[in-house]
Each structure stands twice: as C-alpha cells, then as structure tokens.
C-alpha cells in the first residue's frame, strides 16, 4: 500500500481541472526529483484522467523525468550563442569527468547531466546551471571546479 498523502498534498494545491495536470506533474518533479509511477496512478484516480494520458505527458515534456534524477542537476545550455562560444566542449568535459552521457545520472546518484536548449541568458554565454544557479562565461577547463565548488560546499 503506497502512502498517497504525499501526492495528495501537491494535488490539492490546484484546482480540480485538467488544466492543472502539467503543473502538478512539475511539482512532483520538483519535490521527488522525478515523476513516480505511484504519483501518476494517484493523479489519475483523483482526476479521472486515464493513466496513459498522464504518462504521455510525462514522456513528452522535457521538464519531467520518469526516472529519479541525481542529487545535483547540471544543465549545460546548448542554445545557439552558447554553442558558438564553446558549449560542446563544456558538455564533453562534463561527460568525461563525471563519467556519464547527457541525460545520464552518475552511479552514486550525485549528479545528473542535462542539456537545455537555451535558458535565455545568451549575453553571458556559455552558460552552465548547477542546481538552478546560473554560471556565465563558463570554460571547459574550469567547469568542473565550478561544479565542485558549489556542490561540495
């Protein structure tokens, strides 16, 4: 028997309307670092929307992940300005140093490495986000220092 109260707490923040589905799923993501299967089931029970449709949203929207993400999420902006100013080198360096491919999570569950198609901070390109903190003008040779400094306190 799954404890559904943790899901209900989030579902109850919103109006009972299909319009709220995406926002609820995003709150699940924020709270649990992924969208748990039990959460989808509970949301379906409460709203009457078929599980399949909620699952489809879970796979369609990039902000949602059906597998647990790491404790720290590193996002490399791969928008055009960042691409021109060295984002590919930054991404490769992180892949190599962390030992994961993009959208992967390290075995110890510490880091998830993601790409994001422009965060709208193009004037500070290339941008890397560590747990939603923006780092502008990042460089391949320094990016791991930035990550360590922030995540290891």
């Amino acid at each position: 028997m799954t404890d559904v109260s943790k899901f209900d707490g989030i579902i109850d923040r919103y109006e009972r309307s299909e319009e709220s589905l995406l926002a609820i799923l995003q709150d699940f993501q924020r709270e649990f670092h992924y969208v748990p299967e039990e959460g989808i089931r509970r949301l379906s029970e409460v709203t009457g929307v078929p599980e399949s449709r909620i699952y489809a949203m879970g796979t369609f929207y990039k902000a949602l992940s059906l597998t647990p993400r790491g404790k720290h999420v590193i996002k490399v902006c791969t928008g055009t300005a960042c691409h021109l100013k060295g984002a590919p080198q930054i991404l490769e360096t992180l892949e190599r140093e962390l030992g994961v491919k993009r959208n992967g999570t390290t075995e110890d569950g510490e880091y998830t490495l993601e790409c994001v198609n422009c965060v709208g901070a193009c004037a500070m390109a290339p941008v890397t986000l560590v747990d939603e903190v923006y780092h502008g003008q990042t460089r391949a040779s320094k990016v791991m220092d930035v990550v360590r400094k922030q995540t290891e306190g």
């Binding site: 309307s17 299909e18 319009e19 709220s20 589905l21 995406l22 926002a23 799923l25 995003q26 929307v49 449709r53 489809a56 949203m57 369609f60 929207y61 990039k62 902000a63 949602l64 791969t78 928008g79 055009t80 300005a81 691409h83 021109l84 100013k85 060295g86 080198q89 490769e92 360096t93 190599r96 140093e97 994001v116 198609n117 422009c118 965060v119 709208g120 901070a121 193009c122 004037a123 500070m124 390109a125 941008v127 939603e132 903190v133 923006y134 780092h135 502008g136 460089r139 391949a140 040779s141």
Partner: protein, 618 residues
C-alpha cells in the same frame, strides 16, 4: 488602499504617488535580472543596503534603492545605475560599494574604473544614455525595464502604467481594434501576422466565450527579450492583454510561460495579484463593469509548445502537439473557442499604441514593418544584450554601431536570425534593412528577434548541423516529414562534418529540405529546413570544402582538424599539460610543448586553458 474604482481615481492615485517622489533624492538601481543575479548582484545590493543603513543618518544621505529588471547589457553585470547623475557602473562587486557611496552618491564624482570603456576607441563614457549600446536605442516595449521595480505596481503606475487601459475603457471595441490595425503592429513572436487583423477576425466570430492568450514560451535559442519583459515589466504585458480582451470581448486570459523561466513566473504572479488588489484585473475593472482575469500556465520544456495550436493543447492539460493549420485559432482556439494569441513583446507594445495613438507608432519603422523591435544581439560580438531599435536598421549598424563590432577584431561572417526556423545571412548582405519582409526574402525570418553574430571561426556546416540536431531533439513526432526527415538530414550532415560526405549528400540534403518545406504539418516543421537551405545558399563553398577537400575552413569540425602548439607563442607554462585529460601534451617548463596527436581526442581544453593563444587548430 483598496481597489481603484474609476479612471478618475486612477489618475488621482498617480498624482498622489508622484507627489511623494522627491526628484532630487539620489537613487541606486541595482539590476536584478537573471544575468546580473548570476554575476552576483544580490551581494552588491546587500552591500549597498548595509552601507546606507550604517551611514544613512550620520551623513544625511537618503538613498532610494530599487531592485530592477534587466538593463539588457548582461555581459557586463552586475550593473548599477545611479540617479540623478545618470551614471552606469559595470561589473560592480560588493567591495566597490563603499567607494561608490563615498565618491558618487555623496561627492557626485565618477569612479572611472567602473564605467564603460569602448573596446575600440578606448573612450571612457560614464553617462548611461551616452554609451553606444544605449545611444541608438528607442525603447517602447522595454520602456520601463531597468527603471522600475517589477514587484511594485505603484512604480508601474507612476511611470504612466494603466493609462492606456484607462483610455481604452473610454473607447468602443471597434475603435481599439482599428487603432491597433492602423498602427501596423505585427506579431513579434515569429510569423509577423498583423495583430489588428487577428483581433478583428476573433471578434467577428459568433461565440459567447472568447480567450486572449500570451505566448511566453520563448523557445528560439538566442532570444531572451520576452524573458526580460516578463521579469522586468510584467504589468506592461498584463495591461496589453486587458486592452486586447476589451477589444475582442474576452473574460479569461492565459499567459503561457516557459518552464526555464522561474523568475518570470514569480514576477508575473506577483503582478497579477497586485493588479487584482488595485481593481485593475478581475471583476468590474476600474468600475467599468468589464470583467477579465488571467491565469498563468507553466510550460513543460517543449520547444513545439511555442507553436500556437500546440500551446493551446498544452494549456488544456494535454501533450502539446500541433494540429493542421486550416483550423484557425481565432475561430477555434483554446477549448475550441475564438482565441487571440500574441507574444509577450506584442502585448507589451499595445498600451503605448493606445495611449499615444496609431500614427505615432506607425511613424517609426519601414513600409511593411512599423514600430520598433527588440533584438537580442548575441554571439561573437563585443556588446551583447537586448536592444530595441526602429524596424529597418541595417544588420551592419546593429552589429557594428550598437554591438561594437566583432569580438577580438575577427572577421564578421554572418548573422543567424529567426532561431531554428530562420537562416544565416552572410556579411555581404549586411546592409539589408531588418524587417519582417526583407529577412524572409533573404531566406531567413524575423522570428522572435534573436540576432546571433558569427565570425570567421564559425563553421556554417556545423551551424546547420547544430540546428538540425536541435530540431530532431524537439520534433514532437506527430508528422512524418519532421519526425523522420530531420534525422535523415542529420545523418547526412554528420557524414559531411565527419569527412564522409560526397556530392550526392548535398543533393539528397536539398531534396529532403524541399520535402520538409511542403510536407510538414506545423509552421515549425515547414520552416525547419531554413538553417540548412540558407547555409547551402550562401556558404556552398564551405560545404564543398568539407566534401571535396575534407577540410573545415573554420577549424570546428572535429574529424577534420588537428591541434598543435605554436612553438613561437608557447611559453612553457604547463597549463595545457596540466589540464589535458589524455595527458598527451609534453614538454619541459619554460620550453615549447608538443601535442601527441595520436592520443589527442580534440576536446579543446588545452586551447581554452592557454592564456597565450599558442594552441592552433588546422
């Protein structure tokens, strides 16, 4: 105070606010846009607050401090503006604060090391309005950004906010639509469809329910004006939408904001609450009897949701897939009701057009594209950031006069406009005036106004590959040409950039582009070939160099380049060797180093680490 229940009361309230402001009071404005915050502006603001508190009474200097939206000149943040002196300080650190207070706030003197220095002429400019980046600008959509606190509705009202709405409440819906039509305002989100025409079509459809919506799903990489407006002047968007709702007879509105923009969601939420409290939103707006409210809908990180029909499906709580274009959203949009969807910048222009009139707006710009446009000038250019200029400025003026030329004195090669739906325009066409029609004729498009500047170190085949890869990643998968055509295009481009290309690759690429252009379902699909088509059109020689000579002229495509160290420039500092993940750089301290190319993975870390520019790519 409670709700303002008439237009007269609004004006009285504005006067009351004005009477409280003492013009001679010095003010420190610390930018709190995303860019400046990333550069540490919060610490700078805290430092000011501390110094002011400590010294405030003792020295008798009163200081109004505000946290403002983005000034657009993000690269040089944190930015601090000082009034009444009209001074702009760049890259301010908390350590600079006591000096600024002492010298400028108390003494009225300029701290020279913090002001703008022209990278080309070395000229020092302290006054905000004289910096070339700002000098050529004419700000309408960005009118308040940087001058007001986005969390304060009083600031917005004091700056003339909601006066457009007040005027609109005294007009017939037909008059409002006609005013917008005559202004020539075209949608700032991509296609450039005339806003007035859209409103008129929606108003003409028989229906008891209508919606107005704001597209804040700014997905074009390289464009961030909508983010800046939503974060820095949320009431401008809200006021525009209320006027639009009044014109078409809608009572519910939606703002769809990208998931990547949390600060925009926060500032819009605060603004909506404040507007409701003041009686400017909700039931009986300004005592007029008109009801209208707005909900915020957060996006889920899907590029395709910027497409109108996909966006509406997403708001309804579905997967955001577009539908066929023959059903127009002005007739059957959100929940199959007539809907007006405009983008953030378009809405932000509306209050000013109503207030100052269609003729005023139409006096700016070109024949087919009226008014001003916000561009995000980014990439390989000296001054990067947001600029608002009248339509019709040439690409060259934008890059050279406002942008201050190419980074590092390199050669200007091209600009990319319109995001993944746009194309690359070569330097030889840089005298082209920028407006909706001229960009389309040149094989690109306006899009949302991203101008990405490219220099000689940019490989145009790699750029085409980059956008194709982006689109493969973002294709929703509903229609075959986009879902299956783009990955095949990417395969071909991978071959070309990987040194495996043949003449046939180019021919096949062009054929697939053609297929995509006429076969895809939505606007994003039909324009998805533009990055490839425009680069083939203007930079065919670069494709041919990759194919025939297996050479990447810009030194970007990994399979076709080798790294080496210039023994003349190398000082033997060992920095590259220390950073090399392959440990394939050798050499003694203070003697030129050598790269073992058999082990080199071409990661570029050595080139990035080198402070003497001694690592060469050939």
């Amino acid at each position: 105070m409670g709700a303002i229940n008439s237009v007269e009361r609004l004006e009285a309230y504005r006067k009351e606010l004005a009477s409280k402001v003492k013009e001679d009071l010095p003010a420190v404005l610390v930018c709190f846009g995303t860019g400046c915050q990333a550069n540490g502006s919060r610490l700078v603001a805290e430092a000011f607050a501390k110094v002011i508190e400590e010294q405030g009474l003792r020295v008798g200097v009163n200081l109004g401090m505000k946290t403002t939206g983005c000034h657009g000149y993000c690269e040089n943040g944190p930015l601090v503006a000082l009034k009444p002196q009209d001074i702009l300080y760049l890259k301010v650190t908390p350590e600079d604060v006591p000096e600024i207070v002492e010298e400028t706030v108390k003494g009225g003197r300029v701290v020279e090391r913090l002001v703008y220095r022209d990278k080309v002429t070395d000229e020092v400019i302290a006054r905000y309005s004289e910096i070339p980046f700002y000098q050529h600008q004419q700000r309408i959509a960005l009118r308040n950004i940087g001058n007001i606190d986005p969390a304060s509705i009083d600031d917005y009202i004091l700056a003339g906010g909601y006066a457009g709405l007040a005027k609109a409440l005294g007009m017939e819906p037909e008059e409002i639509i006609s005013e917008v039509e005559r202004s020539g305002l075209r949608g700032r989100g991509g296609g450039g469809f005339p806003a007035g025409t859209k409103w008129r079509s929606c108003a003409a459809v028989e229906s008891d329910v209508r919606y107005v919506m704001c597209n804040g799903d700014e997905g074009d990489p390289g464009a961030f004006m909508d983010r800046s407006i939503m974060e820095g002047d949320p009431h401008a968007v809200i006021e525009g939408m209320i006027i639009g709702a009044l014109a078409v007879g809608a009572h519910q509105g939606y703002i769809y904001v990208r998931d990547e923009y949390p600060l925009a969601v926060r500032n819009l939420t605060t603004a909506l609450e404040a507007a409701r409290e003041k009686g400017l939103l909700g039931r009986d707006i300004l005592g007029s009897g008109f009801d209208f409210d707005i909900k915020i809908s957060r996006g889920g990180g899907a590029f395709v949701c910027g497409e109108s029909s996909a966006l509406m499906r997403s708001v309804e709580g579905n997967v955001g897939e577009p539908r066929a274009k023959y059903i127009r959203s002005v007739e059957r949009g959100l929940y199959n009701r007539p809907t007006v969807l405009n983008n953030v910048e378009t809405w932000a222009n509306v209050p000013e057009i109503i207030l100052k009139g269609a003729e005023w707006y139409a006096s700016m710009g070109t024949e087919g594209s009226k008014g001003t446009k916000v561009f995000s000038l980014v990439g390989k250019v000296n001054n990067t950031g947001l600029v608002e200029v009248p339509m019709g400025i040439s690409i060259r003026d934008l890059v050279e006069k406002i942008g201050g030329g190419i980074l590092g004195g390199k050669r200007f090669k091209a600009v990319q406009t319109g995001g993944p739906s746009g194309g690359c325009i070569p330097e030889r066409l840089a005298d082209l005036p920028i407006d909706f029609d001229s960009l389309t004729e040149a094989g690109s498009m306006m899009g949302s106004g991203g101008i990405i500047v490219m220099d000689e170190d940019t490989c145009m085949v790699d750029v085409a590959r980059y956008f194709t890869n982006f689109l493969v990643d973002e294709s929703c998968g509903k229609c075959t040409p986009c879902r299956d055509g783009l990955p095949r295009m990417l395969d071909l481009l991978d071959d070309i950039t990987g040194g495996r290309g043949t003449e046939e690759h180019l021919a096949m690429l062009e054929e697939l582009c053609d297929l995509l252009t006429w076969g895809a379902l939505c606007g994003l699909g039909t324009s998805a070939a533009n990055p490839v088509l425009s680069t083939i059109r203007y930079f065919r020689d670069e494709y041919e160099a990759h194919i025939r000579e297996k050479r990447c002229p810009a030194g970007v495509c990994k399979a076709l380049i080798t790294y080496s160290i210039d023994p003349e420039a190398c000082t033997g500092c060992r920095l590259c060797a220390k950073n090399c993940p392959q440990e394939c750089i050798s050499g003694e301290r203070k003697k030129p180093h050598v790269i073992d190319t058999s082990k080199c993975i071409k990661c570029g870390v050595c080139r990035d680490a080198c402070t003497f520019d001694a690592v060469r790519v050939s």
